[in-house]
């Protein structure tokens, strides 16, 4: 079995950034495994702009953003294998993979970085009543058909879920000549960015129906229509508000799930809220030598932050391989429920750490407090926090001296 310093699973933005950071830190014996025929991951089908404002100070499209990193990977001769599917990882870091050229092969790695990204929640996860006709797609599948294959999946469209991919696809389908009748959102607020409501829906007079859901699907061979209804404050459909909309296509943009099947084979402990691994500030999982970053760890709003996080993972994996990792602490970060989760979930080293978190609802005039028992370690005020927007706070190394557990508490005035 071939021995190798570092295997990176996934060649999207997270995998490429992690590989470049590890290379920068002195690791030369590394390999990126990518199942698609191209590096770049989901960015290849995200042809809209808005990527890279934080990283590069300019608005790039997805493929352009990916190319910035692919160019570096090529320039530094970082090895990668395309069309290669990883089948299994063991806790002692044996990676089993397969491709058409080599068949099934194994690698024994000193460290592994998980960068597999996420996948979309499907109709099956929603339990929508009705028939099972053609014409129901996840928004990302429709995006792939339109942007990479050049097919328009339908002409009369209803979109369920107002996540950013759904909003982006509302505009994309409209520009290509389809009629988007409505975007229905179960929650009383949108899960997408305000700018996307503006430029993807309002620009084209597409109605956003908040507190609405699809309650029934109609049609035998092809979708013929959907019944939508308003929901009450407990998200139960109100029967008298049922409304039939004829359509041939239903797009679902109802959430993303980190793709952790491989993490499970390696016994990596997962967080029940993020559906990603539990990690420390270095993005090391509870299984030694296995790191995670990007959307496989927790779903990000902006690729810029994926790249940033992946660099932490790449640099830390390099330090681990070179025996420079001296993590001794174990301080769990807990939350109060209004704060749904934090990443990292545990602190193991006394250094400055930026903690990312999401809140459970839309809150106004809030103070986030990080508490060590009764002591306020640090706090941050904000006029508004919403589930659709990832927040962050930086904790100074001094916060971890003698701390047992740090609790994230959100106070609403």
């Amino acid at each position: 079995m071939r021995e190798i310093d570092l295997v990176i699973i996934g060649g999207g933005p997270a995998g490429m950034s992690a590989a470049l950071a590890a290379h920068e830190a002195g690791i030369r014996d590394l390999l990126i495994l990518e199942r698609d025929e191209k590096l770049g991951g989901i960015l290849q089908q995200c042809i809209h702009n808005g990527f890279g404002l934080h990283r590069f100070g300019e608005e790039l499209t997805g493929p352009e953003y990916a190319w910035r990193y692919e160019k570096e990977v090529l320039a530094k001769n970082i090895p990668f294998m395309l069309g290669t599917m990883v089948l299994d990882i063991t806790p002692d870091r044996v990676v089993t993979a397969t491709n058409a050229e080599s068949g099934v092969f194994q690698l024994k790695a000193k460290a592994i970085i998980l960068a597999m990204g996420c996948r979309e929640r499907s109709r099956g996860a929603l339990n929508i009543a009705g028939t099972r006709p053609a014409g129901i797609y996840s928004a990302g599948t429709a995006q792939k058909y339109v942007n990479l294959k050049g097919y328009l999946p339908g002409k009369e469209v209803v979109i369920l879920g107002s996540g950013d991919i759904g909003l982006i696809m509302a505009r994309r389908m409209t520009l290509e000549g389809a009629k988007v009748h409505a975007v229905c959102e179960l929650m009383p607020y949108s899960g997408g960015l305000a700018r996307n409501i503006e430029q993807c829906l309002n620009d084209f007079n597409i109605p956003l129906k908040l507190s609405h859901t699809v309650v029934e699907i109609h049609g035998r061979e092809r979708l013929e229509g959907v019944t939508i209804a308003k929901v009450d404050e407990r998200r139960r459909p109100i029967p008298e508000t049922r409304e039939y909309i004829p359509c041939d296509t239903l797009l679902l943009s109802v959430g993303l799930i980190p793709e952790n099947e491989l993490s499970k084979t390696a016994d990596v402990a997962l967080d029940r809220v993020t559906n990603g691994a539990v990690v420390d500030q270095d993005r090391q999982t509870a299984t030694e030598g296995i790191f995670a970053c990007g959307n496989v760890l927790h779903v990000h709003d902006l690729v810029d932050f994926v790249s940033e996080e992946a660099e932490v993972a790449g640099k830390s994996a390099a330090a681990y391989i070179l025996g420079k990792n001296e993590n001794k602490l174990h301080i769990p970060l807990s939350t109060d429920g209004r704060v749904r989760y934090t990443v990292p979930q545990v602190i193991t080293a006394e250094k400055d750490v930026t903690v990312y978190f999401r809140v459970a609802d839309v809150y106004r005039n809030v103070t986030l407090k990080v508490m060590d028992g009764e002591r306020i370690v640090t706090q941050k005020k904000k006029s508004r926090m919403a589930p659709g927007e990832m927040e962050s706070i930086t904790l100074k190394a001094s916060a971890f001296v003698d701390a047992k557990e740090l609790k994230f508490v959100l106070e609403v005035r």
């Binding site: 290849q44 042809i47 702009n49 493929p63 294959k149 050049g150 290509e176 960015l193 430029q199």
Partner: protein
């Protein structure tokens, strides 16, 4: 006259309050950067958008393209019409011009991915 806008310049999406007098913007509040103010002025006087779409390639596939600068908002569908009648020859690379001076706007449509 007052107008409320959502800034689309970056993912923050600031809520802007714009005061207009005789069609001229006299005050912008709510923006957190200078680009937000410029967006508000443009949006009230000459709203513009960057178009990202795909063009056909000679091999029967598609390739992503964009306008290299924003174009007037009311030309969005005219732009789509032009791009959907263009053909890109391969190989094509990021920055290659597909349509020069689109609809006389001075804006070019350029390729945004590499395809061999």
């Amino acid at each position: 006259m007052k107008r409320e806008l959502t800034c689309i310049v970056c993912p923050i999406g600031c809520q802007l309050n714009v005061t207009l007098e005789n069609g001229v913007v006299t005050e912008v509040t709510g923006n957190t950067c200078p680009r937000g103010k410029q967006y508000a002025i443009d949006e009230c006087t000459n709203p513009v958008r960057t178009i990202t779409t795909t063009a056909r390639t000679a091999d029967g596939g598609v390739i992503p393209v964009k306008t290299d600068k924003p174009i007037p908002k009311d030309l969005m569908f005219d732009c789509m019409h032009e791009v959907n009648h263009a053909v890109v020859f391969l190989p094509a690379h990021i920055g290659d011009v597909v349509i020069k001076n689109l609809l006389g706007t001075g804006v070019d449509v350029i390729v945004t991915a590499n395809k061999e």
